[in-house]
C-alpha cells in the first residue's frame, strides 16, 4: 500500500529519471543535462498557460456562483472548453496599435511580462523532489524576479501613449514597489525559523507533528501568512488592490490600448503570478507539499487552489481601495506589523512554547490596537441618521 502511494507520489520524478537514464546509455552527459533542462522547461511552459486558462474559468465560475448565476456553461460540459474558445478569439482578434504609440516598446511589454511570471515557476516546489531548480537562495530569487513585473507594466503603459494607461502605470509602480517591502519582510520569519533560503528546505522544516508544525499554526506564522497573502494579492494586481487596472476609473488601466494576443499575455501573466504567489504562500506557511495519504504534488496543488479561491472570493466581495489608502495601508499598517512580527519570531526561538504563545498574542494585540488607533482613516466613522417627519 505504502509502496503504491510512494510510487504515485514520485511518478513525475521517476518518469523524468527514467527518460534521462535511457538517454544516458547512448548519449554524452552534457546532452543529458540539456535534455533534463528542456523537459523541465517544456513542462513549465505548458503548465503556465494551462493553469492560466483554467484559472480564468474557475474565477468566472466561482464569481458566478457568488453572484447567484451559473457562469460560463455553454462551451463543452460545464463550460470546460470555454478557455479554448477564449484563446481562439484572442488569436483571431485584430491587433491594434495606437498611432502615436512607441511601437517597439508597445510590442515588447507583453512579452517581457510573461518572462518573470514563468521564471518564478522554477523555484516553486510542486512536490517531493519536484522543484525544477533547487536553488539554495530560492526565496531571494523569487523576490528578485517577482519585482521585475513592474517594469513591463510600466513599459506598456508608457508606450501606449494613453492617459489612462499612464495613470495606471504610475499607480502600478507606486503600488508594487510599496507592497514589495512588507511582502519581503513577511517572508523573513519563515526564513528565520527554517534557517534556509531554499524553498525545499523551508517545506522540510515544517515536517512532522501531524501538520501542526506548519508555520501558520504559530502566532507569527499566521500574521506573516496574512500579510504575505495580502501583499501577494496586491503584487499581482488583483481586487481589492487592482488599482493599475481600475476598470471603473481608468477603463482598463495599463492595458487599455492592448488587444488580441498582447492583451491575453498581460492577462496570462496576472494569473500565473497569482498561481505562483499562492504556491509560495502555501510553501512558506502551509507546509508546502507536505500532507498525509495523498501524493505530495496533489497536496501542493490543493493548498494553492484553496488560496486562489480565497483571492477570487476577495474579488467577488470587495470594492477597490483608493490609491492613497492603498499606500497608507502598506506603509503605515503592514510594514510596522511585519517588523513586530520579525521581533516576535526572534523571541519565539528563545522562550518556551506556552510563554511564547501568550507573549506573542499580547504583543500582537497591543500593536494592532495601536496601529488602528494611529490610522484613524481606516476606522469607519459612526454616523447617526435622524428620521424626521
Amino acid at each position: 500500500m505504502t509502496k503504491i502511494l510512494e510510487f504515485i507520489d514520485s511518478i513525475f520524478v521517476a518518469a523524468k529519471a527514467w527518460i534521462l537514464c535511457l538517454l544516458g546509455h547512448f548519449l554524452p552527459a552534457w546532452i543529458v543535462v540539456l535534455v533534463s533542462i528542456t523537459i523541465s522547461g517544456v513542462v513549465i511552459l505548458c503548465l503556465g498557460p494551462v493553469i492560466m486558462m483554467y484559472l480564468t474559468l474557475l474565477e468566472r465560475k466561482l464569481i458566478g456562483r457568488i453572484q447567484n448565476r451559473y457562469g460560463p456553461n455553454r462551451v463543452g460540459i460545464w463550460g470546460l472548453l470555454q478557455p479554448i474558445a477564449d484563446g481562439i478569439k484572442m488569436f483571431t482578434k485584430e491587433d491594434i496599435v495606437p498611432a502615436n504609440a512607441d511601437k517597439v516598446i508597445h510590442l515588447l511589454a507583453p512579452i517581457a511580462i510573461v518572462v518573470p511570471a514563468l521564471m518564478i515557476f522554477l523555484v516553486v516546489p510542486f512536490g517531493k523532489g519536484m522543484t525544477t531548480v533547487n536553488l539554495n537562495i530560492g526565496l531571494l530569487y523569487f523576490i528578485a524576479v517577482s519585482s521585475i513585473t513592474i517594469l513591463p507594466i510600466f513599459m506598456g503603459s508608457w508606450a501606449s501613449r494613453n492617459k489612462y494607461s499612464l495613470l495606471g502605470g504610475m499607480r502600478t509602480a507606486a503600488q508594487m514597489i510599496s507592497y514589495e517591502i512588507p511582502m519581503t519582510l513577511a517572508v523573513v520569519p519563515a526564513i528565520m525559523m527554517s534557517q534556509s533560503l531554499a524553498t525545499n528546505a523551508i517545506v522540510l522544516a515544517q515536517a512532522g507533528g501531524h501538520g501542526l508544525n506548519w508555520f501558520i499554526f504559530t502566532p507569527w506564522g499566521i500574521v506573516g501568512f496574512i500579510i504575505f497573502f495580502l501583499c501577494a494579492t496586491a503584487e499581482c494586481n488583483r481586487p481589492p488592490f487592482d488599482l493599475p487596472e481600475a476598470e471603473s476609473e481608468l477603463v482598463a488601466g495599463f492595458h487599455t490600448e492592448y488587444s488580441g494576443m498582447k492583451f491575453a499575455l498581460f492577462y496570462m501573466a496576472e494569473y500565473m503570478n497569482a498561481f505562483t504567489l499562492c504556491g509560495i504562500a502555501a510553501t512558506l506557511f502551509l507546509g508546502g507539499w507536505q500532507g498525509p495519504f495523498l501524493p505530495s504534488w496533489l497536496w501542493f496543488f490543493g493548498k494553492t487552489f484553496i488560496l486562489i479561491c480565497v483571492m477570487i472570493w476577495f474579488r467577488g466581495t470587495f470594492p477597490r481601495f483608493r490609491v492613497d489608502h492603498l499606500m497608507a495601508f502598506a506603509w503605515k499598517f503592514l510594514l510596522p506589523l511585519t517588523l513586530i512580527n520579525i521581533l516576535l519570531t526572534a523571541l519565539w526561538q528563545f522562550t518556551s512554547n506556552l510563554a511564547a504563545w501568550c507573549g506573542s498574542i499580547l504583543v500582537l494585540g497591543i500593536s494592532l490596537w495601536t496601529l488602528v488607533k494611529l490610522n484613524r482613516t481606516f476606522v469607519p466613522e459612526k454616523r447617526h441618521y435622524p428620521l424626521e417627519s
Partner: protein, 382 residues
C-alpha cells in the same frame, strides 16, 4: 483621446487633461467630464452635456397630450413611473381632473415600488463604481427583477411602463397582484439586511465614501439640489411631505437625513429611504379601497386622445422622483398639443455642484461622487 497638456506653472508639475467619457464604463451613459489632473488630484472639472440630447420638449410640443405619456417614460428610464406620475399630475392640475380613491392608492404603490427599484439600482451601480466586481449590483438586480416582473404583469412593460392616465391609471390591480406586492414587501427587509451586512460596515467602503464629496446644506439649497442628495446634506425637504400631493399626506413615514453630506450619507440615506418606502407600501396595501380606477370624465379621452383640449392656462407640477424634484411646466393654448412643455430634470440640476464636490479629491472619488448623485442620461440630456 485628446492629448493636450496644459502647462500651469512653468517650473512646477504639468496639469493632465483627461476626458472622462462619453465612452467610459462609469459615467452612467454618454456623459462627459473634462477633468484636469495634478497627479491623481483633481484641480478642475467641467461637465459636458448633450450626447443623448433628442429635444424631448420639441417632440412633445408636436404631440397630443396623451401621446406624450410614453415619451416621459424615456426621460428617466430607470423609474419611468415617477415621470408618468409627474406628467399626469401636471395635466390633471391643468385640466382640473379629479382622481378616484383607488387610482390614487395604485399610483402611490407603483411610484413607491419604482422608488425602491431606482434606489437599489443606484446603490448597486455606485458599488460598481467603487470597484466591487458586480456582486452588490447583481444582488440588487435580483431583487429589482422581482419588482420588474410585477411591473410587466401590471403595466405591460418592464421599464417603459406608460401606465398612468389623466385622471387615473390604465389597468386595475387584481388581488393576485396585490398579494404579489405584499410578498415582495414582506421579503424585502431580509434582503436589505443582507445587503447592509455586505456593505455598510465594510471598512474599505467606509474609507472610500466617508468625508468624500462633502456638500453643505446651504450650498445644496442655493444650487437647487433636490432628492436624496439634498437630504443627505441634512436639509429636510421632501416634496411628498411638503406638497402632500396625491395622497401622500395620509401615510405615516419619516424622512431620513444625513449628517455630513458626503458620499456615504447619500448612499445610506437611500437605504433608509427604501425602508420608508416599504412602510408606505405596507400602509397602502392595507388601506387600498375598492372602486373606480379612472375618472369618468376622462374615460372618453382614452378612446380619442386627440379630442383632449385642456383649457387655456399653464401648470407647474412636481413630484418627488427618486432622483429629486421632477417638475413639468405645461402651457396650454386650447389646442390638442401643448404650446410649451418643459421638464425640470433633477439629474441635470443636481450636477450643478459636481465640480465643487470633486475639487481636491482623487479621480477615483470623482467617479463615486458622480455615482452618488445618481444621474440618468435620458433625463439629463433629454
Amino acid at each position: 483621446m485628446e492629448t493636450t497638456e496644459v502647462l500651469k506653472n512653468t517650473d512646477a508639475t504639468q496639469i493632465l487633461e483627461i476626458n472622462f467619457g462619453p465612452q467610459h464604463p462609469s459615467t452612467h451613459g454618454v456623459f462627459r467630464m473634462t477633468v484636469q489632473l495634478d497627479g491623481e488630484k483633481i484641480c478642475g472639472l467641467k461637465p459636458v452635456f448633450g450626447y443623448l440630447h433628442r429635444n424631448h420638449e420639441q417632440i412633445a410640443e408636436n404631440l397630443p397630450y396623451a401621446a406624450i405619456m410614453p415619451y416621459t417614460d424615456r426621460l428617466d428610464y430607470v423609474n419611468a413611473l415617477a415621470n408618468n406620475f409627474g406628467y399626469a399630475l401636471t395635466i390633471e392640475k391643468l385640466a382640473g381632473f379629479e382622481v378616484p380613491e383607488r387610482a390614487e392608492y395604485i399610483r402611490v404603490i407603483m411610484a413607491e415600488l419604482a422608488r425602491i427599484v431606482n434606489h437599489i439600482t443606484v446603490i448597486g451601480f455606485m458599488l460598481n463604481d467603487l470597484g466591487a466586481f458586480f456582486t452588490p449590483l447583481l444582488y440588487a438586480f435580483r431583487e429589482r427583477e422581482r419588482i420588474l416582473d410585477l411591473f410587466e404583469e401590471i403595466t405591460g412593460s418592464r421599464l417603459m411602463n406608460n401606465y398612468f392616465r389623466f385622471g387615473g391609471v390604465k389597468r386595475d390591480l387584481t388581488n393576485e397582484n396585490l398579494a404579489a406586492i405584499q410578498k415582495i414587501v414582506s421579503k424585502f427587509p431580509a434582503f436589505l439586511k443582507e445587503f447592509e451586512a455586505l456593505l455598510t460596515k465594510n471598512e474599505i467602503l467606509c474609507m472610500r465614501c466617508q468625508n468624500i464629496g462633502i456638500l453643505s446644506g446651504e450650498t445644496a439649497t442655493n444650487a437647487g439640489i433636490t432628492g436624496p442628495v439634498l437630504r443627505a446634506s441634512g436639509v429636510n425637504y421632501d416634496i411628498r411631505k411638503v406638497d402632500g400631493y396625491s395622497i401622500y399626506n395620509r401615510f405615516d413615514f419619516k424622512i431620513p437625513l444625513g449628517e455630513k453630506g458626503d458620499v456615504y450619507d447619500r448612499f445610506y440615506v437611500r437605504v433608509l429611504e427604501i425602508r420608508e418606502s416599504l412602510k408606505i407600501l405596507e400602509q397602502a396595501l392595507t388601506k387600498i379601497p375598492q372602486g373606480e380606477i379612472i375618472n369618468k370624465k376622462s374615460l372618453p379621452l382614452l378612446k380619442m386622445p386627440r379630442n383632449f383640449k385642456p383649457p387655456v392656462g399653464e401648470a407647474y407640477g412636481r413630484v418627488e422622483s427618486p432622483k429629486g424634484e421632477l417638475g413639468f411646466y405645461v402651457v396650454s393654448d386650447g389646442t390638442p398639443q401643448p404650446w410649451r412643455y418643459h421638464v425640470r430634470a433633477p439629474s441635470l440640476i443636481n450636477l450643478t455642484v459636481l465640480e465643487e464636490m470633486c475639487l481636491g479629491q482623487k479621480i477615483a472619488d470623482a467617479i463615486i461622487i458622480l455615482g452618488s448623485i445618481d444621474i440618468v442620461l435620458g433625463e439629463t440630456d433629454r
